[in-house]
């Protein structure tokens, strides 16, 4: 897939002396959902703000569809839609008027039919004549998304989209994001809700203290860094782990009632033929150890993230 955004050597030091971004390079592929993951203050919003034109970079460059964000800002900005983190909208305007305003501001001719389509897709049609100040937080978030989509952008930035959002809106939003991706829109979201990145993203970039620590396919990331745990609940408690099971490095817990096995799944199956799950289960039955249940747990992006940030 060709790249839609290319970030090269981007740095930002604010007037206060705070370095928010340090030599970040990143390619965003056309049509993907990219999750930018990092704790608060890591530099996620600064990165987005530079690409969208809200903050001036100190060093480095960014191109969007091959156009430079500084010298060809009309080309780049007209292709980008931004949903900011804060719920900021014109309090006294109606929903329809504010979405139409955004379309005009981004250089598109008025198209009430298209504005209606966007507003409907966000379940806002009944509220089209309401003043924005009368809407709930979730509704305001929908309005901001509608504003960002009003000019038919190729790239959509969602800055912390689920902050303060209820379950229903989150579900709606993810449905919409997938539909947009299917229609060819590239989506970049920032989040510190890790399950969000895990659920939505095709690729994940981890940012910490202004540096991009890692960019990887989510599936590959889960595979290389995702440890799995198998817990075996025994019928009868064991006092010690039998010698034959020693190679599996098992741990015994729950008063001897539970055996835990850590492993990593790879494309070839579970780690090593001698120590894999199959081997373990065979060894258990050979030892005559009966069990009533077993379940596996996968380490979440959160665990991966915590270990990455600690490592850096």
């Amino acid at each position: 897939m060709p790249n839609v955004i290319t970030v090269s050597g981007l740095s930002k030091t604010y007037a206060t002396g705070h370095t928010a971004l340090n030599n970040v390079s990143l390619d965003i592929r056309r049509g993907e959902i990219f999750a930018l993951l990092g704790p608060n203050g890591a530099g996620k919003t600064t990165l987005i703000s530079i690409i969208c034109g809200l903050v001036k970079p100190t060093a480095g460059s960014v191109t969007v569809s091959g156009f430079d964000i500084v010298s060809q800002y009309r080309e780049t900005r007209s292709r980008i839609g931004l949903v900011p983190q804060e719920l900021t909208a014109e309090a006294f305007e109606s929903v329809f008027a504010t979405v139409s305003f955004s379309r005009g501001l981004f250089g598109k001719k008025p198209d009430p039919a298209y504005v209606e389509k966007v507003i409907r897709s966000l379940s806002l049609w009944e509220k089209r004549d309401s003043r924005i100040m009368t809407l709930s937080g979730g509704m305001k978030r929908r309005v901001l998304i509608a504003k960002a989509l009003a000019h038919e952008p190729e790239v959509l930035f969602l800055d912390e989209p689920s902050a303060g959002v209820d379950v229903e809106l989150r579900r709606d939003m993810w449905r919409l994001v997938r539909e947009l991706r299917d229609s060819g829109v590239t989506i970049i979201l920032t989040t510190h809700y890790l399950e969000e990145a895990e659920e939505m993203a095709d690729r994940v970039g981890v940012i910490s203290r202004g540096e991009l620590i890692l960019v990887e396919e989510k599936a590959a990331l889960m595979k290389t860094l995702g440890k799995k745990k198998l817990s075996v609940e025994l019928n009868a408690p064991l006092a010690t782990i039998p010698a034959r099971l020693a190679p599996f490095n098992l741990t015994l817990s729950d008063g001897g009632g539970c055996l835990t096995y850590s492993y990593v799944t790879t494309a070839e199956g579970s780690e090593g033929r001698d120590h894999g799950i199959t081997a373990l289960l065979e060894a258990l039955s050979a030892e005559g150890i009966a069990f009533r249940d077993l379940h596996t747990e996968q380490s979440s992006l959160e665990d991966i993230f915590v270990s990455l940030v600690r490592r850096s």
Partner: protein
Amino acid sequence: MNLQVNLPAIRAIYTYEMNRTRRTIGQSIVSPVLSTSLYFVVFGSAIGSRMSEVGGVPYGAFIVPGLMMLTLLTQSISNAAFAIYFPRFTGTIYELLSAPVSPFEIVAGYVGAAATKSVLLGLIILATAALFVPMEVRHPFWMLTFLVLTAVTFSLFGFIIGIWADGFERLQLIPMLVITPLTFLGGTFYSLDMLPPVWRTVTLFNPVVYLVAGFRWSFFGTADVRVEVSAAMTLAFLIACLLIVRWMFRTGYRLKS
């Protein structure tokens, strides 16, 4: 340099601002017209009828151009200042900054709308004044030129204040402490001839004197200062404001970090 112009954006900003005016018509149109009309009633009709003519013009008519200027200056400034300050205050400015618009388009939209409103206000006040005192406009073309030029210049000035201000009280600071006194002392209610010679000289350092004088000339054909000087001063201030706005966008002053 990009020569294309984002016309839909100018239209969007302009329409948005004019809608805001319509929404708040009581505060943005009715209230300034009403307060200016009170001046006509008190100074023009009531007191003015007992005053002698100024340079051959009845006092009631004499103060009309000055009062129009007073409203034009204060309303242009406060309207444009508020228009750009409010999005900065609420945070909605993000959209403007992330949009494919040039500084020219932003200024054209905001200043255009603020100036339109001021010109409308000026004309409504003139029409209202004509109800109280007989009015004639000797040079209608120049009257409109001065009206539009002043409205644009001071809307630009207001725009600058709106970007500079970092609180609501600062927004009011310049109009209250500088513009209103300068206007009252700028020959709104009197001719410079009425002042002692020393004060006449001091007054010539007040830029508003030139605005009022030029505008008054377009009504009555006579003025305290030459009309060319008035026009030149207005243009000079306009250019100064344009340069400041350009500098603000070049550096991202209080807009971008």
